[in-house]
Amino acid sequence: MSITGERFLISYDAIDQQINFEGVLRVVDESDLQSIGSYLSEMHERLDGSMRLNFRKMRYINASALRVIIDFLKYARESGKLSIKIIGSKVLTWEGKTLPNIKSLWDKIEFLVYDENFYKSQRIIEDADFIPLLRNQTRLLWPLEKEVLVKHGLREGMKVADICCGCGDFALLIAKELKASIVTGIDHSAPAIEYAVRLQNEFNILNADFRLGDATALIMDDELFDFVLCRLSLQIFSKPEEILKELNRILKPGGRLYLLGEDYDLITGYPNEEEIRTVYNKAGTYGTQIGMDLYNGKKLYSILSGIRMGNIKLDYINVDTINSDRRVFADMIASWRFFSAETIGKRLNITKEEHDELLAGYDAHLKTIKNRFGYTKWTCVAASGEKIR
């Protein structure tokens, strides 16, 4: 049940009783406008309870098409049969400007900004405060992960997408050092994208492009990229299958999808072994409570096989106190300490005792790092699969 035009698709998703609008709905022809109106009315007749109108992937609309939607909403209002939910995204400017005004037509219309209401844990990692943590992680991972990327098939001249690119430093390193023809970085955080663009300009890197975007509704054509990365990000999505579908969609047949995940079960160290394990067990549990999966590294093989990727490769990346600068390692753990105890702790209203225990655990880990006889490691799992032709 769908209706298509040259540049748009309007389809029905039965699971959510949702009409999905995609593409460019700039319609001039009167018969096309009438078809859209009839389609909406027919769907309205079939449904009970509520009906969602999802505009997250509707790049543009013109006033004539909007008029059809407004007329439909007035029809729904008169009928009184269904409540209406309008779903928009903050990524597309027109949606924030125009869709909220429609709400005033009828009190049974609910307006939801998808990005703000659907991700449990995303908000807290979108602050500019998070940028130093991301940068320290990149400092530690890049020297090791660069080789892994090559092993997993990233080659000079490829079109690369880094989805959930954060502040862009990893994407810029790929552009500079692995010489991709273009690296497109997408992130949902405006401060992170601003930061990425500033870095790009400062370093005069021409083969990179950063855009604000929603990873579960990418405004991109199908099969655009040779290599698609999503690093340390699947873990924050409560519904990772939604983002995987999009990552797969934008990947060319024969291209590779590369995922990097953490696994808090694999963080270890000595001395203070017990304190280190205790604090990451706690932090992992708190993460789970706010919708993060800090153990998803071990699941990446299953995830890639589940979406029918072929030729799966998997590598452990062990950042440790031998192959990395202890000071940078310590800075990263200090950022985790703050993030876990203050940001997540506040969100979960943990008790003072729990808060202090958490801080003490991270402090023990920091002692191990700073002890020149001490050893610790942070393990990430890199997995990639080939999109079957």
């Binding site: 543009y60 006033a63 004539s64 400007k97 005004n101 005033s104 405006a190």
Partner: protein, 181 residues
């Protein structure tokens, strides 16, 4: 009687300090023959200009959305044999959308009425009235895009019309801050 009138008294003090500029002069008939060109040209100008902005995706979406409605309204009222002069520029504070072309005297009267309404009526209640109207008349349908631009994007819309020559010079000013709000 003076044949040339200006509707809307918005004065932009910093418009002299134009930071970027693109101009296209195109045959009206091209648009009338294939209406997909409204979309094509709006997107072209928006994408071309977006690189001047930090939030280029949001800027591109805004520029294209505003241009589309202005272009569709004005060009569909124009003589097929004439040309439309399309300009987009930016200053420190404003995004400046400009269009000029020749339109028929009937269309000119309707356009004058619409601009007067946009500039003189309470925009909130006027917009609401258009949303609520069941009048399927073409004139009302056509008003919606222009009113939407003025209301949703807080655009200041002004025009200079020459009734004898039928020439129209339309300007819309949108504050840069609208890109991120």
């Amino acid at each position: 009687m003076c044949p040339s009138i200006t509707i809307g008294n918005f004065v932009h003090s910093d418009a002299k300090n134009v930071l970027s500029h693109i101009r296209l002069v195109l045959p009206v008939n091209d648009f009338l023959l294939d209406t997909r060109r409204y979309n094509l040209v709006s997107n072209y100008i928006a994408e071309y200009s977006s690189y001047h902005f930090e939030h280029k995706d949001r800027a591109e979406n805004l520029i294209s959305s505003v241009f589309y409605e202005l272009l569709e309204y004005l060009v569909s009222s124009s003589h097929g044999s004439s040309k439309v002069d399309i300009r987009f520029s930016t200053s420190e504070e404003w995004l400046i959308f400009e269009l000029s072309c020749k339109i028929s005297s009937d269309e000119l009267m309707q356009f004058k009425e619409l601009l007067t309404e946009i500039n003189q009526k309470d925009l909130e209640s006027y917009y609401r009235a258009i949303l609520e109207s069941d009048d399927a008349a073409t004139s009302l349908q056509r008003k919606m895009g222009m009113v939407m631009i003025a209301h949703d994007y807080h655009a200041r819309v002004t025009a200079t019309l020459d009734e004898d020559e039928g020439s129209t010079f339309l300007q819309a000013f949108v504050r840069r801050e609208e890109i991120n709000t």
